[in-house]
């Protein structure tokens, strides 16, 4: 069981890191989500694989699992949820302002056209299915997220 957990954590961190290295902001957000799932799972696993009853009052006798990691994970999830929501709003504003989802543009300085074109293509692939239902050559992948 520990091995399975370790593998799952590893896969989550690996995929999350891979996604985070993309230029597409939406992918970065998804990658962050995976990373935080991995970290939460690690908090659970760090406290030992649960063996016992759920820590609920009045649900019978027997050994209960340590409820503290669960409370901590719950807190971490809530915080991650709030931050992800904020990040999505920021990504949305980003798209509304720059018309792309490229995170590489340096501050005060719009990204060069080549980078923007690549980010647009990246965005198109993210919603591959939707692109198929649209007329071919529709402009701007970033606009898809409006």
């Amino acid at each position: 069981m520990e091995l399975v957990l370790a593998l799952v954590i590893g896969v989550l961190f690996g995929t999350g890191t891979f996604l985070m290295l993309r230029r597409n902001l939406i992918r970065v957000v998804l990658g962050l989500g995976l990373l935080s799932h991995g970290a939460n799972l690690m908090l659970m696993a760090g406290a030992g694989v649960p063996r016992g009853r759920a820590p609920i009052l009045g649900a019978g006798a027997g050994a209960v699992v340590d409820p503290l990691p669960q409370a901590l994970v719950l807190t971490a999830i809530v915080i991650g949820f709030g931050v992800t929501a904020f990040l999505l709003v920021l990504a949305y504003r980003h798209i509304a302002t720059f018309g792309d989802v490229d995170v590489l543009g340096t501050p005060m300085d719009p990204a060069p056209a080549r980078v923007q074109a690549r980010a647009a293509a990246d965005g198109e692939r993210t919603v591959a299915g939707r692109a198929a239902s649209r007329p071919a050559g529709a402009p701007g992948g970033g606009g898809d997220f409006r």
Partner: protein
């Protein structure tokens, strides 16, 4: 662009979902549930309305501004802690209130309930603000 099926389901499920969210809120004291998940369920009910009938319709269902809702919730949750401080206990000490209402003898209300209620309002307010904001503009 919304189908008749969706609108009908949304109309039927609204009250059911809201009721379930209240159930989760009050059962959260010593069973699974609580302010956060109840708030999410309530927000999901309202988001479904927004999906089926548009954001404006859903926004009219919430009588106050969403951010004010969240702020009031935060105030309530913090106020629960401060109440303990005022009563000379450490911050966030929970208390139990015994009430004898007509037709409902021996009601026990824990101060944790008000904390949960605050969390509920915060979650509903924040989720609605984010989702309405994203869908509207």
């Amino acid at each position: 662009m919304t189908s008749l099926i969706l609108r009908t389901v949304a109309r039927v499920s609204l009250h059911l979902t809201l009721l379930f969210s209240v159930f989760l809120l009050v059962s959260g004291h010593n069973a699974p549930g609580g302010g956060f998940i109840a708030g999410l369920v309530a927000a999901a009910a309202l988001v479904l309305q927004a999906l089926a009938f548009g954001v404006e319709h859903a926004r009219r269902m919430v009588p106050v501004d969403e951010t004010a809702l969240a702020a009031l919730g935060l105030l309530l949750a913090a106020g629960t802690g401060v109440a303990a401080l005022v009563l000379g206990q450490p911050f966030l000490t929970s208390g139990l209130l015994h009430l004898d209402l007509p037709f409902w003898p021996e009601v026990k209300i824990s101060s944790a309930f008000f904390f949960d209620l605050g969390v509920y309002l915060v979650v509903v307010g924040m989720v609605l603000q984010v989702i309405f904001g994203l869908r509207e503009a």
